[in-house]
Symmetry: C3
Subunit: 342 residues, 3 copies
Amino acid sequence: MKFTVKQIATLLGGEVAGNDTLAITGLAKIEEGKPGDISFLSNLKYEPFLYTTQASAVIVDRSFQPKKPVLSSLIFVENSYSAFTQLLEEYYKQLSFAKAGVEQPSYVGEGCQIGDQIYRGAFSYIGQNCRIGRNVKIHPHAYVGNNVCIGDNTIIHPGARILDDCVIGKSCVIHPNAVIGSEGFGFAPQPDGTYKTIPQLGNVILEDFVNVGSNTTIDCATMGSTIIRKGAKLDNLIQIGHNVDIGENTVIAAQTGISGSTKLGQNCVIAGQVGFAGHLTIANGTKVGAQSGVGKNVYEEGTSLNSSPAFGLKESMRSLAIFRKLPALEQRLTNLEKKNAK
Amino acid sequence: MKFTVKQIATLLGGEVAGNDTLAITGLAKIEEGKPGDISFLSNLKYEPFLYTTQASAVIVDRSFQPKKPVLSSLIFVENSYSAFTQLLEEYYKQLSFAKAGVEQPSYVGEGCQIGDQIYRGAFSYIGQNCRIGRNVKIHPHAYVGNNVCIGDNTIIHPGARILDDCVIGKSCVIHPNAVIGSEGFGFAPQPDGTYKTIPQLGNVILEDFVNVGSNTTIDCATMGSTIIRKGAKLDNLIQIGHNVDIGENTVIAAQTGISGSTKLGQNCVIAGQVGFAGHLTIANGTKVGAQSGVGKNVYEEGTSLNSSPAFGLKESMRSLAIFRKLPALEQRLTNLEKKNAK
Amino acid sequence: MKFTVKQIATLLGGEVAGNDTLAITGLAKIEEGKPGDISFLSNLKYEPFLYTTQASAVIVDRSFQPKKPVLSSLIFVENSYSAFTQLLEEYYKQLSFAKAGVEQPSYVGEGCQIGDQIYRGAFSYIGQNCRIGRNVKIHPHAYVGNNVCIGDNTIIHPGARILDDCVIGKSCVIHPNAVIGSEGFGFAPQPDGTYKTIPQLGNVILEDFVNVGSNTTIDCATMGSTIIRKGAKLDNLIQIGHNVDIGENTVIAAQTGISGSTKLGQNCVIAGQVGFAGHLTIANGTKVGAQSGVGKNVYEEGTSLNSSPAFGLKESMRSLAIFRKLPALEQRLTNLEKKNAK
């Protein structure tokens, strides 16, 4: 990031008080601002920091009037908080798509179509017959197998693995060391106690705007597709089994596992370390508390579940409250028994 | 995959009705078949799809007689389901071992012996003094440290890490980004509150036909070996601590963790997100339910455990059923107390 | 490792009985010793192995007198156990730092300062403007982003990913496929049910002597830093959310997850598969049992917690004991009810 205070003020539609030629190279909280940083003041609880901050510039509300001298340049805008957020997003977007071109050595197989504004990092690998959209960023050590499609503006971070035949939508982000399309866990028990591998020949489809966290694993379908639908967000270290179907805009926190063939609805919110059994259907808008274990279908939209095995959130809170006082409850029972024994 | 209908019929010992020169390039469910696909009809519930499918060929039982015109070529066999499975397995085997040769750049250290029909993908790394069998497939970005042995027909997927001195058997599959032989977690507390690293100098031994899932980690032994025995199957994101010993044909589902020095018997079935404490001995044929926490030895073969901490499956189901109605149980107790207080 | 028995005796300040010119190339338990190995005898329960071991040399206490002929050379020292441990540590240190130099191909961006005694493995990647200390070991396939600082004597194992702007202290060990500094999981819900990415622009700071296990993920801060303080030890497959702060000498076992902005104190001991909710403050010296779920602040130092949701360890043990006999407890209640109904 390298802008002048004036350039940022223009971007935000604000007016500058102070030196508008200063170079801005970073963003910071007002209490941590250093020369070169821009910060903001919205909650007046933080006003004292305005008079001591080392930040080169601070974004403030148009209605704000300093009570003491300020060393930083000020940028006056309608809403300082949303202006700062706008700046963050612009900066983040620039950072995410800054890289372009090809670093060597890198590998591309035969028959690939690759769009413009591509970044292919050193030691990245793209197999045969892939179709890669425009403005795609394939970072160092990323692996893309054969016959893979990747939509425009998608970012594949270092060490992510996308196996043969997978389809990745537009504007997806695949974080480092995630594995998409590895073989599902399917083994048929044999009479002698050994297991025979069940061929896993399907793929994984990620629709647009999907986020896959670091070290998350999404298995390919046995046949057909494991599907993560539009706008779904998966955190780190999640396991998605073969033939799972995750609905649009469903959000799943870290270390959750979803067993094979389970179908989650849209706009579900799943906390961390949750487990789902296989072959379930979970209604739209279902919410599941951390460390819960879901073993049954959920038919009603907007259901809230908790505990392992999971049941209604409110009911589980009541049961858990009594669980903590079980020793006292047993004592009450013993007292009654004594009384009745007389 | 590229065969004619006739070639497939010959492979399966079947007879063709229809065009036997059509090219088959894929396998599909009958309801999803496209031109170029072969499918099968076994369960007659799916018969209506036979008359509408776009698949180029469909495998059917010899006893089957179509009730309407069929556009696809038909292959008549004794048992359509097992014939299709046979086809799947043949195709899967071909796919898995299709690659051969060496892509560049790739790295091999001094003193290695490498068998024929090897595949070494671009950016794969093999350290010094390794012995690699025949028909081994080392995919791009895979890492093999020094003094590693790998048996025939083993597949090391992209980004898998096999550290120094490990021994991998024949016909194993190591999935992407799995880590085998990294240092165990051993730290000795010091009087000043810091921790001193306990050297981890052992290795990991995988016997034949072992499967290690994506992003699974298997730590090397402190001294001696962490052992995964013949035919054991490990799913994704599993943690295996140092000096653990997993018995033959034991199957472990995703996100389970096994602490150091625990020994699992043969033919155990461990569900997902289970935890085992360290230094346990678990009898052959033990079954453990999802999210359970096993803290004690299991002496009796074929035991079924559940819950955290784990106890007998049946007993735990009864306790869990009452857990859900604890508020009602407390109310009953309160009612009795009131009655007795009179 | 390659020393003579005499060299080892000199290192340990011991005296040799037997051939002191034998070459020692490995360490082993006395019952598993092979020619070329050195072993030790401390607990006399193992004395019978002394007379049968194949080890070339055995370290024994000065006070020890063999009762039968011994084939191995003996090294007499004050304390055989601590001498052997000293040898282990020396060997381990040599192994860990044995590699030096640069393997090709490897990648270094512009503007980097790199200290001496570096090891850069084949296919390792270092971005722009990094400062790498002396005696740092960057193994094959490791990724170091832009503007990263790494202190002296730190080891980055194969496939570890250290993203832009992270700061890694001295004498840290980052195990294979760990991910440090990937984007935190932050999404703002929009009125139409979709989610907007919240820019994650902070970094991760690892202080000195930090251990990060294989496939563990540590997210960067939204702004500012996620911090893992001096001497903290993280096992495999752990998730650390954005803006988390882990205190000095805190030890965390495998598969535990810590949600965003939670602050753990010093010298905590966290078992495996534990979950922490976000925005918590946990006192110094807190101990948490395996599979627990911590949802509340912990104010008192040295607290022991257990269960999910977590409460006092002792209380939870009592409740869990009664949980197992809930069916009997309900039966007792039913009996009383019948008695009272008469």
